[in-house]
Symmetry: C2
Subunit: 203 residues, 2 copies
């Protein structure tokens, strides 16, 4: 089966983490693994949770254009290794990258075949309610997240698909449908077309 | 729900007729209805099976660019009325048009939002077996159909999707997935995006 890179973005509280967890490895999904300069935490395994790298190694990867995107976060670097993504795609995997808008658009530039999916909650009051129920953010932070969600709306047009996450199984079904459809595009079907042509030799 | 025009083409013996019959009206599918100058047969109802028209009426429709495509077949004219298709889409229907490559590309030109799906059998020997089993065509006709199937292969790249019809339920599932995905494109989601923006007024 044709591999694929799928990027999922959406405001904090859109439920993208939960949706991504439901994308089944049995259906070919595989999470992307980031390179990071952060020290491993207890139980974290190199090549499973992260690829751990020194700052020099990270800078070399960046200089060699070996990262599809990168960002700094509380003093550490994080990036998506192109080689790992390409190998997984080569093996027919649907590589899933959960990333913010900024990172998603970086990847799209370096890897135009990536399929960008934007996940939104059904409404801003619903988003507010979810963030309040989560109980991990204070009122000021929630206000800032709502504002940011609105600011990101115009960027939806740079994504390939928009999924409203009203119901988790429904959102997962929609992402499965997107993946099924994307794999049926003629640009990804060269092998099937060639096999059909070659089948004339079987007579 | 967002309406859509879906065009399905494929060689004779690809099983497109059977697949189209399985696209359920309960899921919003509606067959396109052709205009024809052919006389109604017993039991045929105007506006259900065909829109029956005189040759003058047909020529007027054609002159007014009111047909998305048209063709002549054994002395009669056939065409796809733009107005009917647009009304159905406006009502949220998935209008299905089963048509040959020539007609499909005519429609795509006049109606770029149309979603073009090409259906192929798994192989040429399988296509040959299906045509032989059907028992309605002689050996010369079957040979011509196989030749034409091969000739149409390069046109697959002008379609949006390629579905191999190896198994009817699987092909129907793939078409359902394509429709689900197409409806999630941002260009077709303007209403959802506006509703999300407007929901800030609900606070």
């Amino acid at each position: 089966m044709q591999g694929l890179l799928v990027i999922i973005s959406g405001p904090s509280g859109s439920g993208k983490g939960t949706v991504v967890k439901r994308l089944s490895p049995e259906n070919g999904y595989a999470l992307s693994i980031s390179v990071t300069t952060r020290a491993p935490r207890e139980g974290e395994v190199h090549g499973r949770d992260y690829f751990f790298a020194t700052e020099d190694e990270f800078k070399n990867l960046r200089a060699e254009n070996a990262l599809l995107e990168h960002a700094a976060y509380v003093g550490n670097f994080y990036g998506t290794p192109r080689k790992y993504v390409e190998e997984q795609i080569e093996n027919g995997k649907i590589v899933v990258l959960e990333i913010d808008v900024h990172g998603a658009l970086q990847v799209k530039e370096k890897f135009p075949a990536a399929v960008l999916i934007f996940l939104i909650p059904p409404s801003l009051p619903e988003l507010s309610a979810r963030l309040n129920n989560r109980g991990t953010e204070d009122a000021v932070t929630i206000e800032a997240r709502l504002k940011r969600a609105l600011e990101e709306v115009p960027l939806i047009n740079r994504y390939n698909y928009l999924v409203v996450n009203d119901d988790i199984p429904d959102a997962v079904h929609k992402i499965d449908s997107i993946v099924t459809a994307e794999r049926l595009k003629p640009a990804r079907s060269a092998k099937i077309i060639q096999e059909f042509i070659d089948s004339q030799k079987e007579f």
